[in-house]
Amino acid sequence: MRLSSLYSRINHNHSAPVWGRSRYRSLRLGLLFIAPWLAGFLLFTLYPMGMSLVYSLTEYHTRGPLEWNQFQNFINMFSDDLFWTALKNTLYMVVFGVPITLITSFACAILLNLKVKGQSIYRVIYFLPSIVPAVASTLLWLWILNPQAGVMNTLLGYIGIKGPNWLNNPAWSKPSLILLGMWGMGGTIVIYLSGLQDVSKNLLEAAELDGASWFQRLRHITIPMVSPITLFNLITGMIGMFQYFTQAYIFRGTGGLGSPLSSTLFYSVYLYQQGFQYLDFGYASAMAWVLFFIILGCTVLILKISNRYTYYAG
């Protein structure tokens, strides 16, 4: 033990230590440690990606041979009305759902960061909805938003508002789903909360002494300092929203996929329908790749734009 502490005292500046005697040995060691993940990655990510790319360029139906059809699947998308409906529905959720959720969860994190009695209890309460399984929470919200007997319209009735027909009105189905998503935004709140711990206390105190109001401190110190967190939440939220599936799948209740009136026919739902109901694997794979590039494009765009607005301490 003594020897080791002596050793560490001598060796002050070393980054990651090299244990193997040669590059080969260290490579073998590293690969050994990551082998289980690597196997899973090759089998369930890389290989499917390759095959999916092949399918997207082929006519692949339930019967008969698989044939190259060049870019026909992609060309077909342009004239497929339902494809555009699905894309529009998804963009609706990304454009409205993601920012609303982001702003609300930031506001919640600010509240939960206040020094109040029972702070930890409030934190648990705000987080709890997010661990409810999507299937269960969607069923619950179907019941809450039930136009006849649901608690939402009962409550709205108390204050003299006649609640809309949440579930069967195409104009209200997507806002309903956003509401359901906001109920379960605890994960985003927690990440914001962890970011708020890193906002410099000195800076806030100095600003307060200089007479900056609470709002000014929020605007000029807190928000810029949590901007990396906002970026993280924005990107993960966007990626998740583009793949929105389970809630929409359940939300239709006993109606067909996408009901009412294709208003919840989101991209992934339509893809599922093409792939697993109509068994048009080629078209579904092509759609999946288009989605991938949309996500990639949006991510790059957000990163580019955010460069100017994001603050990094280190």
Partner: protein, 311 residues
């Protein structure tokens, strides 16, 4: 002036408290409504009752029996346990390797790992499904006649029979199909790697001098002080596996093999308008998550705060 600003502060504080409490009520009302409904009688659910006059405890037994939750519950417990075991071994080893073993190509592989988080599930799900079914993946130009008999378009792809081109046994309805895809998770590896990286390298050197290898160092020194991130990965992994819906729906055809979330969805058509039973079923599926959450809650909060989840 000073007095005035103090008054403003007190009012401001009161308003913040009010918002905080209102938010808490909004967050809890659905829970309350779910639990309340689960104890109602059928009549009460229709008549907009707030709370049941006499709690119908029998609803739970009824839902359990009608939905056949016994089987689903057991399946989910097994699936989740096995997935978690694999996930933990996987993530700890890989997270450690990316943090502390220096090997050629590490940075490239790590970049690939991060990139996989961006690949939509819909890109991989279809070929993965075919893979799990044990079919030789048809290639262009080969008349594979992969699907010989498919039950109409309304049915699921699962109804297809692969008659000619299968190798080995199909993984449909097996534990492997339900667990292995959940074992390699980029996010868990990333989270652990961020934490392991913060360990002072003096610790290594000391351990090495004392003759410990990587594995012994990892298990005897690193893991005991990594409780928070491990619990965080455990919680996320548990939630991910227990709540999974789409994949199990695709790789199972027989109800006796299906996990709880698929069971709950099946129950929707069976329960029909019996919302009280449906809510009782929903509560049942929720209980294990609540238990795991409250066990890991303290470490989880810490884990989020201490690991570099930050951009």
């Amino acid at each position: 002036m000073a007095k005035h600003s103090r008054l403003v502060r007190i009012i401001g504080r009161a308003i913040l408290y009010l918002i905080l409490i209102v938010g808490a009520i909004i967050a809890m009302t659905p829970f309350f409504w779910m639990i309340s409904t689960s104890f109602m009688s059928l009549g009460e659910t229709i008549n907009r009752a707030w709370i049941p006059q006499t709690p119908q405890w029998g609803n739970y037994a009824e839902a359990w029996k009608q939905a056949n939750f016994g089987v689903y519950f057991k399946n989910s417990v097994i699936i989740t346990t096995v997935s978690l075991l694999g996930l933990m071994i996987n993530s700890i080893l890989a997270g450690y390797a990316f943090a502390s073993i220096k090997f050629p190509g590490k940075n490239i592989i790590f970049a690939i790992l991060l990139a996989t988080m961006m690949v939509p599930e819909s890109v991989t799900v279809l070929p993965s499904l075919l893979l799990v079914r044990g079919s030789i993946i048809p290639l262009p130009g080969v008349d594979s006649r992969a699907f010989d008999a498919c039950v109409g378009a309304g049915g699921q792809v699962l109804a297809c029979q692969f008659q000619n081109f299968t190798f080995g046994a199909s993984w449909l309805n097996t534990l492997q199909a339900l667990t292995i895809p959940f074992m390699a998770n980029a996010f868990s590896i990333f989270l652990l790697r961020q934490f392991f990286q913060q360990m002072p390298s003096e610790l290594y050197d000391a351990a090495r001098i004392d003759g410990a290898g990587h594995l012994r160092y990892l298990f005897q020194i690193v893991l005991p002080i990594s409780k928070a991130p491990i619990m965080t990965v455990l919680l996320f992994g548990f939630i991910g596996s227990w709540n999974s819906f789409m994949w199990p729906l695709l790789v199972t055809t027989r109800d006796v093999k299906r996990p709880i979330m698929v069971g709950l969805w099946n129950f929707v058509t069976e329960a029909g308008p019996q919302t009280h039973l449906l809510m009782a079923g929903a509560v049942i599926t929720l209980i294990p998550i609540l238990i795991v959450y409250f066990i890991t809650q303290k470490q989880f909060t810490e884990g989020i705060a201490t690991t570099g989840l930050k951009g």
